[in-house]
Amino acid sequence: MIRLEKRKEPSKFWRIANPFLAVVLTMIAGGIMFAMLGKDPFVAIRLIFFDPIFSETFASYSRPQLLIKSAPLILIAVGLAIGFKANVWNIGAEGQYIIGALFGAGVALAFFPQPGWYIFPLMVLAGAFGGFLWAMIPAILKTRFNTNEILVSLLLVYVAERILAAMALGLMRNPDQPGFPGSRDLRRYEAAHNAELIANTGMHWGVVAAFIAVIFAYVIMTRHMLGFHVQLAGQAPRAARFAGVAPARLVVVCLGIAGALAGLAGMFEVSGPGGQVRIEFASGYGFTAIIVAFLGRLNPLGIVLAGFLLGLTYIGGELGQMMLQLPGAAIQVFQGMLLFFLLALDFQTNYRIRLTQGMRA
């Protein structure tokens, strides 16, 4: 009989080998699905995994795009991971992302058309503050009234979406385009434009912020007292209390950090790649980032890799649709498979498969 046995130490070998094995298995399973849909599986997989990075036609454009697509995911996931480690369940990053974008854009639109070096930094602060503020609602309701943060943060996503629509149709509407929803194009307003720092690299301030956040989170989690408290609260809440961790403060800090980072992501998106406050501005980054956080095992460096891998399948998936007429749904299924394999194989890191003697039925 097969049984799992817990390893004393997580296996270093499998920790590194698993993602590769998962990708290979996804290629096989996905290839079978593509073949069943009547498409050449080898071409499909090449389009999804290789062409965005290596193809002569696309790579020079899509390599930088990988940064643009992955940066918000990484930025949000890093913040969420700290909370998840402490058992603070913020699943409303999507809402915090939207409100951050609205705050950032709000500052820009208030200053329009004035020039000024200080406008963009103010937008950065406003974006972070907006996300922070939106995350403080579940945090304060949790600490003051004992209200579950899963429910509050999730439902506030829907509220944020309605506010976004109302803003795009009302207060933030571009007065030069009467009647049409959507704000001014912030990319046309130099003082507010989150432009590429070096042309054709995809590097914008959001990417920089994502990397800073990763390093920052890494240091906090491994070197700082807060990181210790977070780990302790997550693994042994009672011991944490004895060690002087105030649970209420931890909730506020965790939600605050995640909210501020999600708000930043929204602000960098709306002032750069997104360009405009519009009804369908949100791209589900806040929800996808939860998957990224766990695929990266809540570890900042793992999150970077997970963010890039997921970003790659998005860009490659578009190529697959365009070049091979794969249905968009098949790409979604393919991504689902990849996640399943990545998660499923993880057991090898912590467990060992054993055949128990005498019970071989």
Binding site: F145, N146, N148, Q335
Partner: protein, 309 residues
């Protein structure tokens, strides 16, 4: 008088219908969470039920077969989740989210040939003289059978969790899986059954949308109902009747805000359209602020279990 055109009996009738799909999914997820498992894939299982139920109903011509198919479809997807989280010990939150992504994509593929056709009609339940009772007749006794079966299911789950031996074991597993294991209960087996029940209920909720409420098949047609169901379980503090109250509250505010809009009440539309979410939060805050009472969350919720012996 503007508000005169809003009939409370009709409002009551409408909210019961609006609440049914989310209540079905929520009551399933409630049992799953009571067993200590957090499955965030409700939306994926719901859309699976909506799609499979529709396909089966169209091909067999029978709505009943459709609902059975929907439950099986939900179970099939939930077994994938069970395999991942129970056998392979994967993270529950991530697995559930992946399940939603997978379910949305898979159903879009499966349902490709079923867009733009109508499913067989589910017959209306005729409750005869009951539906002629003033007020109550219109409010309570004019629905399709699924509405009543859902209420019965809530009662059954309540009884099961509170009074049955199996329910007690399930709660024990959810509260403290190590202790339950020490007492000789099969933690994983209980959890797998709970997950399957959750899948079946979510599937039925989806089929209620695609076979009765709307009825049509379009990809992504659940539009977030699964997420609302998840929120309801928390709202209910894992108590079945409170889940029903929550679903009726949410459905009620949705229907009420539509009524206020149609009646031309001078409240900005954007505020009305976000009111169901805000009021649900507000009510939960009022309920949960009672003197630091515990949230009643199952003790082992979202914690992996591995028998070390």
């Amino acid at each position: 008088m503007i508000l005169g055109s809003i009939n409370p009996a009709v409002l009551m009738a409408a909210l019961m219908v609006a609440a049914t799909p989310i209540l079905l999914a929520a009551i399933g997820e409630l049992v799953v969470e009571k067993a200590g498992v957090l499955n965030l894939g409700v939306e994926g299982m719901m859309i699976m039920g909506a799609c499979v139920g529709f396909i089966v109903a169209v091909n067999t011509g029978s709505p009943i077969m459709g609902f059975i198919g929907a439950a099986l479809g939900g179970i099939a997807l939930s077994l994938l989740f069970a395999l991942l989280t129970q056998a392979l010990m994967t993270n529950q939150v991530a697995s559930g989210l992946a399940l939603t992504l997978f379910g949305l994509g898979l159903t879009a593929l499966l349902g490709q040939g079923y867009v733009g056709i109508t499913p067989p009609r589910t017959p209306k339940l005729d409750l005869g003289p009951l539906s002629d009772i003033p007020f109550l007749g219109r409010a309570l006794f004019t629905h399709d059978i699924v509405v009543y079966l859902t209420i019965a299911l809530v009662g059954a789950v309540w009884w099961f969790l509170k009074y049955s031996r199996a329910g007690m074991i399930l709660r024990a597993v959810g509260e403290n899986h190590d202790a339950a294991h020490a007492l000789g209960y099969h933690v994983k087996r209980v959890r797998v059954f709970a997950i399957m029940f959750g899948g079946a209920c979510a599937g039925l909720g989806g089929a209620y949308l695609s076979l009765i409420r709307v009825p049509q098949w379009t990809e992504g047609m659940t539009v977030g109902a699964g997420w609302i169901a998840l929120a309801l379980v928390v709202f209910a503090s894992w108590r079945p009747w409170r889940a029903m109250a929550g679903a009726y509250l949410f459905g009620g505010v949705v229907v009420l805000q539509l009524n206020l809009q149609a009646a031309g009440v001078r409240i900005p539309v954007e505020y009305l359209s976000m009111s169901p979410y805000l009021i649900t939060i507000l009510v939960l805050v009022i309920i949960s602020s009672g003197k630091g009472r515990s949230l009643n969350a199952p003790g082992s919720l979202n914690k992996p279990f591995h028998a070390s012996s």
